[in-house]
Amino acid sequence: MQTRSARSPARPHGALALSFVLGGILLAFILLPLLALTAGQSPTALAQVASSRDVLDAIGLSLAGAALATLCAAFFGVPLGYVLARTSFAGKTFVSAVVDVPLAVPHTVAGIALLFVFGRQGLIGAAADAVGLQFWGTLAGVVVAMLFVSVPYTVNSARLGFEAVDPRLEQVARTLGLGPWHALYRVTLPLAWRGIMTGLTLTFARAIAEFGAVVILVYYPMTAPVKIYELFIRFGLEEATGMALLLLAVSLALFLLLRWLAYGRGHTSGLGR
């Protein structure tokens, strides 16, 4: 795969070297705490944690919740990213700012705000209750809490992805006989694919890690972060880090898979233009 930097004229060597050093420091900053978690972790304790029904259920719930939140983000967030990339309207700046707000809201506050709307007496919660859907202590609650705090990543990345696609390419596709939906599907979506997948990956990651907003709506059944916290309270550091490691391993495997889906298949060198 050809990359842009490989073809571009030689950069100043000092800048690249400095970037290597600074990037390496950052990588160490990310890896050292994670490695510290593994240090002193006994394989037997890890195996014990990994074979606990509770732990596996919690990880399963987190993955299911994050996957559903990511699907919702894709379904609603990608179209919003498209609108923000392709149109200009009064109040667009305001809409963009609103999309970013969940990133700045403390997560406990986000959870309480969601409870106002999705609680049994809330605007949506009461209506949903009438058809048997509850958000208090349910998977649906996990999903809305995860979605709220993580959907900005999808909207913003998808928007950047769409903005990088020349809208006139879609026009060309139309003149070649494609209807508007078909042109979107065959030209714009594949070209914005990386941006969209980056956003969805970030959303998924953020959703798995979410604690503060989720725990307001749902403590039982426990998501993985809540379970890790509970293990720490009930047993101690070893059990908690054991489960944390397990969660990290599962997440890492999933991120690698998602990255491969986003970047690793088909023709990619033309996507960056």
Partner: protein, 355 residues
């Protein structure tokens, strides 16, 4: 056989507008819309292609009115700046892109003759980023051709390409359009495109067609200062008609008197006019020789090389630019800051009445 006609097209679109645009092209004809950025050229193409609904007027392609049809039903070939290839698809995939739509499920075998015709066999599996400009143009043309378009719409395809390459590409394009017997509408801000390609020219400015006609009509008889400047007329001089007589006009320019043959405009004494004078209609030689009404004394202010030509900046009481062959300059021993005799070809002078 196909043709295209636009009749009294009117449209308002944000900061762009089209005002009463009419034009028509026959099969194999290339029409060039020439205008500066923001003139509405691209909007005009997009309206013909079906991306904007005009407020008034009609678009007729091959005798079929398509004014309200969506782009996918208009059968237009749309070629953009840098040719607008899909960057995520190979040359062959680009070419067969429209194929699956019009006629589903025919194998890629169908594009083989097309690849051969456009000399693209060797690059069929390459992504557009790795193609030369010529290969890109041929890929784009092949991609459009496969959908059997009734008209080609080209939006500054050469704008980002160096001059030497675009000369070749223009020639290839012209040949292709002629052979395909499909009309083509080409918008550009570069008058060199117009010179090389156009059967018809329309100059557009602020949503209106200011002047249209054959290339020679438009280039030799620009209608106003905007058109003259835009078409690259080097010398546009303000003057006054001194007298009108059987042989034409006597015109005062910067204290000099010039005899100009009659043009198609009817002018009277005292009229303020602009004289349009191509730089290659100005001759410069060593001072002396028989004085005549087409000759002036002048001074070479500066000389600059421009390809095979030398551009001389002259002061004759008014500024004047002349293009001479490099060889001529050296044979005549012309030097900067030298006094010279300037000879103007009256037949090349075009007079525009100043409003």
């Amino acid at each position: 056989m196909s043709d295209v006609a636009v009749e009294q097209l009117t449209l308002e679109l944000g900061e762009f507008a089209l005002l009463d645009i009419s034009l028509s092209l026959d099969a194999g004809e290339i029409g060039v819309i020439l205008g500066p950025n923001g003139a509405g050229k691209s909007v005009l193409l997009e309206t013909i292609a079906g991306f904007h609904r005009p407020a008034a007027g009609r678009v007729v392609i091959s005798g079929r009115e398509v004014t309200t049809k969506p782009p996918e039903q208009r059968h237009v070939g749309f070629i953009l700046q840098n040719f607008g290839l899909f960057p995520h698809l190979t040359a062959a995939e680009n070419i067969s892109f429209g194929l699956h739509i019009r006629r589903r499920q025919r194998g890629s075998g169908e594009i083989a003759p097309l690849l051969a015709r456009f000399r693209l066999e060797g690059v069929a599996d390459r992504l557009p980023d790795t193609l030369s400009p010529g290969e890109k143009q041929r890929t784009a043309l092949a991609r459009s051709l496969i959908t059997e378009p009734d008209v080609f719409l080209l939006d500054e395809p050469f704008a980002a390409i160096d001059t030497r390459t675009s000369d070749t590409l223009r020639e290839e394009l012209r040949q292709f359009i002629r052979d395909a017997r499909i009309p083509a509408l080409f918008v550009t801000h570069d008058h060199l495109d117009a010179v090389a390609l156009a059967d018809k020219i329309a100059v557009m400015w602020e949503g209106e067609i200011v002047q249209s006609g054959t290339p020679s009509e438009v280039f030799q008889r620009p209608k106003n200062r905007f058109v003259a400047e835009f078409l690259g007329v080097e010398n546009i001089l303000a003057g006054t008609i001194m007298a009108r007589h059987a042989g034409g006009y006597s015109v005062y320019v910067g204290g000099q008197r010039l005899e100009v043959p009659p043009g198609n405009e009817s002018l009277n004494a005292e009229d303020e006019v602009l004289l349009c004078l191509p730089a290659d209609a100005v001759d410069v030689r060593q001072p002396g020789g028989a004085a005549s009404l087409r000759e002036f004394p002048g001074l070479i202010v500066a000389m600059a090389s421009a390809g095979p030509l030398v551009r001389l900046t002259l002061d004759c009481g008014f500024p004047l630019t002349a293009h001479l062959l490099r060889r001529t300059v050296s044979e005549r021993h012309l030097q900067p800051h030298q006094a010279v005799t300037v000879d103007i070809d009256p037949a090349a002078v075009h007079l525009i009445r100043e409003p």
